[in-house]
């Protein structure tokens, strides 16, 4: 049965292949693929998020704790990050409630680091707590997903990222579609023009990106930070998603 201690990937190879999760290591030619680091202490949730991400054509590394995430990123204290010069992480998605280091604490550490502070961090939680959401967004989280995570949620995340610019000097930065340096009103700008993203998606996706996903995320074009992730969470809790 699957190992519980996590490590870089949560399952032994045979189980990964059996579930169709795929290879631990990516060949160099996949460097154009979006690479997501997923952090969750629950094995079931790791498998689900990993599958959700792979279906949207992301390369995934799943770890079971904040400490392992920092290890993977080379941000743990013991090691110099020299060997991680070429580590490319385009998105970090983490559970909030984890033993040891919470997702919030992990978020802070990432935002404090020079190498990875530009990487979007998404928080997942089973609890729709306003103060929690606010804290995370204030600390620089890109978005907040309410568990259980669905395919539509992950597809929306995918729309934050584009591969049109690779920065060679600092391989950890990726140009985001919108100018997201302005974190005070998170993700309220409209999604990219459909034609651009569709042509990106079609070369990478195993499944076509639903245009409905883009359209449905666009109404939150007001400048109020209450919209977008928070409104989405409220809508979800009312069962209106």
């Amino acid at each position: 049965m699957a190992a519980r201690d996590g490590g870089v990937s949560c399952l032994r190879r045979t189980e990964m292949i059996g579930i169709g999760i795929g290879e631990l290591e990516s060949p160099p030619s996949d460097s154009d693929q979006v690479h997501v680091l997923a952090v969750d202490d629950s094995l079931v949730d790791r498998i689900v998020i990993e599958r959700l991400l792979r279906i949207t054509s992301c390369k995934v590394t799943a770890v079971d704790s904040g400490w392992r995430a920092l290890q993977f990123l080379g941000l743990d204290d013991d090691k110099a990050s020299v060997e991680f010069d070429r580590l490319k992480v385009d998105l970090i998605i983490t559970d909030y409630c984890m033993p040891g280091m919470t997702g919030y604490e992990l978020l802070k550490k990432i935002k404090e680091s020079t190498s990875f502070r530009e990487v979007p961090v998404v928080i997942m939680s089973s609890e729709n707590v306003m103060t929690r959401i606010d804290r995370c967004l204030e600390e620089g989280a890109e978005d907040f997903l309410l568990k259980p995570v669905k395919l539509a949620d992950v597809k929306r995340l995918r729309s934050y990222l584009t591969r049109d610019v690779k920065v060679s000097a600092d391989g950890n930065k990726r140009k985001l579609v919108e100018d997201l340096s302005n974190f005070s009103s998170p993700v309220t700008t409209s999604p990219p023009p459909l034609s651009t993203s569709t042509s990106m998606e079609s070369s990478e996706s195993t499944r076509p990106s639903s245009p409905v996903g883009f359209i449905s995320s666009s109404p939150e074009s007001s400048t109020s930070p209450v919209d977008s992730p928070i409104r989405r969470r409220e809508m979800k809790s009312l069962g209106l998603d």
């Binding site: 579930i19 169709g20 629950s42 498998i47 089973s126 568990k147 259980p148 395919l151």
Partner: protein
Amino acid sequence: MNTTIVAQLQRQFQDYIISLYQQGFLDNQFSELRKLQDEGTPDFVSEVVSLFFDDCAKLINNMSKSLERPENVDFKQVDSGVHQLKGSSSSVGARMVKNVCISFKECCDVQNREGCLRCLQQVDYEYKMLKTKLQDLFKLEQQILQAGGTIPQVDIN
């Protein structure tokens, strides 16, 4: 391929899965999981729920130990177990299990050992019941595939 047999099996499958939703064993998240399964990964859902059931057994066993001695209950441990169980049941769409966890958490919060024991028993019952039901469902899936058919998409909304 005997199309009549396939159609019969598909119908059986459809009726069965719909009944599981209607009776409240499963919720929408299960159908979300089914979306993630394709010809390349035909066992995805059964593998995930299998891990979930293993998780249930383990967590229930641990919580049972924590609740064993009335004078020395580790409610923190129990709460942690319930939290994990609630999370994973929610992630796979195991609705009944998740609902018991909600009551279970309430008993834990007020340190009601008797209540916790009742919930523990109920959650044990529910996960085993669901396990049996899903085993039957997956068996039907296998029969359909072996008869050369495809698994029907089922819209529960």
